[in-house]
Symmetry: C2
Subunit: 429 residues, 2 copies
């Protein structure tokens, strides 16, 4: 977090009124520009998608894996060994316990929860649905994680996030006090939206803390290979640490190629202990005829191996790093002089987390929207869409071209400054 004092708050009321008028005039100009810009979702840009365009003609007639299996037909429920091998190192999951499945890790996480609700998980003594249950939700976090829980009546308990991951003390005391807690959402590398990278110490705590035997870490390693700097987050072997701590079944690791190749036309992975993977395969045997093995072969041909994958991700970085730099630069130029925001400078992933003046986030997002700049709704990064401080805004800078991005960020800053001045004035009246 880049922190700053808040000189806007220090202005006397006449000066604040003058500032508000200036921001308001700037905002009127902004509206006149009739923009249509979008900072809402973590979508790859067209330029990034172009990096994988060989998928549009691969696998070029081939249709067998290394073992000679005809991938055009039924079978192969675990996914292509070559592809699982390629991601095994980055995810720190042995190939035998890493499945390559459908097109989305969100689906895998959703389906895991559904199966746990109906059947329970290994080590549990009842289906999760047999009583009210809860999940821990480090905040700010990923709205689609929260939506799954909300949809199934699973209570979400917010947990503060630090630079090195969720606040372990808070997690420990919640787990100790409440055995209805069955799960915890974790984005261990380049968290959505803060960019936090879990430290080994935090990971050791999460796999060791006393908890129900059917408590699970939903380890959404969505950004494991999505670096933005040379300072790459070193993968942590959460499965080994959990086994060491005597809780081998606690982590369920999820990942996908949605932001490596194509969202929707990618491949998703799940990795876990032998007991969990056995449970998975049993569940899949009723649900699935097997994954799209031809698309998996396309991915093997495109990316080749772990080092091909790393090279491919460097090309993404070359496109993305300037966009994240632009976020930092515009905020520094426009917000810092007024002490009007604190934001993260992530070393990977897809988001920047911006905190504005308490009570001003929803208004800033509304003003931006009315000026044609779509921003993720304030509160979306909190369970039930409820940011108790009304301060957090998630910035998704990857999709627009750099020029449009800068225009959108400038406009957003105008909206934020006006919202903050209004908020401060309202508090004084």
């Amino acid at each position: 977090m880049t922190t700053a004092a808040s000189p806007l708050a220090d202005l006397d009321t006449p000066a604040l009124l003058a500032a508000r008028d200036a921001f308001s005039a700037a905002y009127d100009e902004l509206k006149e520009a009739r923009l249509t810009l979008d900072l809402t979702r973590g979508k790859p840009s067209a330029e990034q998608l172009d990096l994988s365009n060989d998928l549009l003609h691969l696998p070029d007639g081939e249709h067998r894996d290394a073992s000679g299996l005809d991938l055009r037909n039924y079978g192969g429920a675990e996914g292509l060994p070559e592809l699982r091998e390629m991601f095994s190192d980055a995810l720190r999951v042995p190939v035998s316990r890493l499945l390559a499945l459908g097109n989305s890790s969100l689906t895998l996480m959703h389906d895991t929860i559904v199966q746990a609700l109906l059947h329970g998980v290994p080590g549990g003594d009842a289906p999760w649905s047999s009583r009210p249950i809860s999940f821990l939700a480090p905040v700010p976090g990923y709205d689609r994680h929260f939506t799954i829980c909300e949809r199934y009546g699973i209570r979400l308990i917010p947990v503060p996030t630090n630079d090195d991951g969720p606040d372990v003390e808070a997690v420990a005391s919640l787990l100790a006090a409440d055995d209805s807690i069955k799960g915890m959402w974790c984005v261990p590398v380049y968290s959505n939206p803060t960019g936090a990278v879990y430290s080994e110490e935090v990971v050791r705590a999460l796999v060791s803390l006393p908890a129900a035997p059917d408590f699970r870490l939903f380890w959404d390693n969505a950004y494991a290979v999505h670096h933005l700097t040379d300072e790459r987050a070193e993968p942590i072997d959460v499965l080994a640490l959990a086994a060491e701590a005597g809780n081998p079944d606690r982590p369920l690791i999820f990942a996908s190629t949605s932001k490596v190749t194509y969202p929707g036309a990618g491949v998703a992975f799940v990795g876990a202990s032998e007991a969990n993977i056995g449970w998975y395969k049993h569940n899949l045997s009723a649900q699935s005829i097997g994954p799209d093995k031809i698309n998996q072969l396309r991915h093997v041909r495109l990316l080749e191996d772990a080092s091909g994958l790393a090279e491919h991700m460097e090309k993404h970085r070359a496109i993305l790093a300037p966009k994240f730099d632009a976020v930092d630069r515009v905020f520094r130029e426009r917000l810092t002089p007024w002490g009007a925001g604190a934001w993260t400078a992530p070393k990977g992933g897809y988001f920047v987390s911006l905190d504005v003046l308490e009570g001003a986030a929803a208004r800033a997002v509304q003003l931006a929207k009315e000026a044609g700049i779509a921003v993720t709704p304030a509160g979306a990064t909190f369970p039930y869409g409820d940011d108790p401080r009304d301060a957090n805004i998630r910035i998704a800078p990857t999709f627009p071209p750099l020029g449009e991005l800068t225009t959108a960020l400038e406009g957003l800053c105008t909206a934020i400054l006006l919202a903050e001045a209004e908020t401060l004035l309202a508090a004084r009246s």
Copy 2:
């Protein structure tokens, strides 16, 4: 059903013993041939898969649909309009209520049941899981349908199947007596495994019979376009008939291209009333980032439109019809003289249903297996694997090349004759 008297049963005991010895000698010869042949699953042959090999280089750089949407990115949760249009006529579902989704209709059916268990369905007043429930299962039927119910503790109630579909009287009296019945498995066209085609009269009855408001027909139209003769089953508009009968939400229509293009690398469909489709889309919004739209585009490029689809299916027919002819010919030559079986002559689909002497099916399948000929386990076509008559064997003739198929069928007949002779002798001792 081709029916036949059972002259084996009419033989006096010395003649039966002599026949048994002859069959036994033939069986010993069969074993010496050390075959490894497989009649178990309804898999397309390599020759059929070759028909869709353009999928291995399509969509050839293209990545937009007719509306200009970039199909490589997020979005498009309902699937490509062009593809839904292509299947709309054969499935008799308006495009607006037909979704093109993932790679398997089995998954869609499974997930529908899971959502109904956890949430209930439109028109219901509680989640299905709030009390014990049942499904009607026309028999013989599809084992993977049954497996889904078995996995979630849904009781399966067998219903006899006639040439024109499930026995309506039986369905009516079961529905009238038991309001825990929430679903019914239906394969309306070229049923698995009998090949039965539901008549319009039967369909009208199924959508009209009094039943619980949250009762659903799982209308697995897996073989809608999979004709084997010129006498093509005319599609029945079950949604319109259901609406006419005042039960618009009763049918849920499923289909896929698993046996049109590639199993696993295909596209699955669900079609239903507006209320059901709304429910579906709501559920998907928590579960999915959207289907693989690029693979859907591949299918649009390969098949083009409804008439392209029909032409493509004619090529399948040219490969498959001789295999089904072989089944009929071999059974007629080998079983008919002994009155040793009655089998279906389907006009489409993937299976032949064979009834042997009561009490002899499991033994015949075991003998075949020991001679290297894998046949679907006897009983697999019944809930809980339990064929009360131990008479039904499902024949899947599509996968092996014609020569191998004929060898396997000949061997199976040898096993059946021996099993029947043994069974008759045991009854007399």
